[in-house]
Amino acid sequence: MLLIAEYLIAALLVIGGIFAVIGSFGLLKLRDTMQRLHAPTKATTVGVGSALIASMAYFWLFQGVISWHELLITLFLLLTAPITANFLAKAQMHLAIAEKDLPPSGVGTQWATYDEELRTVAPTLEDQPKS
């Protein structure tokens, strides 16, 4: 029984390592910054995820304690990864992408990154629409 668990944990660690390597390889291989953004936001989630599952299983089966920190790490990772990706994308849009290279929004207004009005106005609580 413990032998099977050991193999499973080892397999999870290897799978996690492979995905992390693929994510890093993607950074080297893909051509422009927007493409490279896809490699670390995705291919590494499973990498980190399976390492965390392996860690939980190890502490539970071999040390006899249930470790909850891995669940928290997963939660924080899922919360922060999209925001990091969005910040990187916006920075790249400001630096290297012209508005004419993007498709129109289709509703007549600009994309927010290029909107001069939005750049100068800081939102406050009073600006929120009342429901």
């Binding site: 051509r31 493409q35 989630t45 499973v46 669940l71 999209p82 990706a85 509703v107």
Partner: protein, 163 residues
């Protein structure tokens, strides 16, 4: 009374659970501390939660979380395949505008986050009016199919949960 003491029951529950997970061992002392935090923080921050939307359908929300977790695994395998087996000139990246029907900022944030975590797409920007999301797709031979997929798979579910 209970409503005044816990203006935001879900936030209280979240703080309680998060604190217990952080402590990592079950002790009466940390139970008390978790209770204090779960009461005080929502009371102090209540002023900032004026227009928060209600999650109307909790089972649907749980199903949504499971669906997204599954899709994240699929997304990882797809992106790994594209990185490993496609030549650089075979990868057709595209910007896709996705019109959205969701109105609440929280639901839109959740949709944008979901799009970033799932198959080969990253949310990059939003139109100034807040009606359209700008998405960058790593490999999009058919941009319209990706847009329709996002609308039917994620947006329709979020609409049922929040609106």
């Amino acid at each position: 009374m209970l409503q005044r003491l816990f203006p935001h029951p879900l936030l209280s529950l979240l703080l309680f659970v998060t604190w217990m997970l952080l402590v990592n061992t079950f002790k009466i002392g940390s139970l008390v501390m978790a209770g204090i935090l779960a009461t005080v923080i929502p009371l102090l921050t209540a002023a900032y939660w004026t227009n928060r939307p209600k999650v109307r359908n909790i089972p649907a929300f749980a199903a949504y979380v499971l669906l997204v977790l599954w899709d994240i695994i699929i997304a990882n395998i797809q992106v790994a395949k594209i990185i490993l087996f496609y030549r650089s000139d075979q990868i057709k990246s595209a910007w896709i505008p996705v019109p959205i029907d969701l109105k609440t900022p929280e639901a839109i944030t959740l949709l944008a986050g979901t799009i970033t975590m799932t198959p080969g797409t990253v949310t990059a920007d939003m139109s100034s009016c807040g009606r359209v999301l700008l998405i960058h797709s790593l490999h999009a031979p058919d941009p319209d199919a990706i847009r329709d997929d996002i609308k039917s798979r994620y947006e329709a579910r979020l609409k049922r949960i929040f609106e």
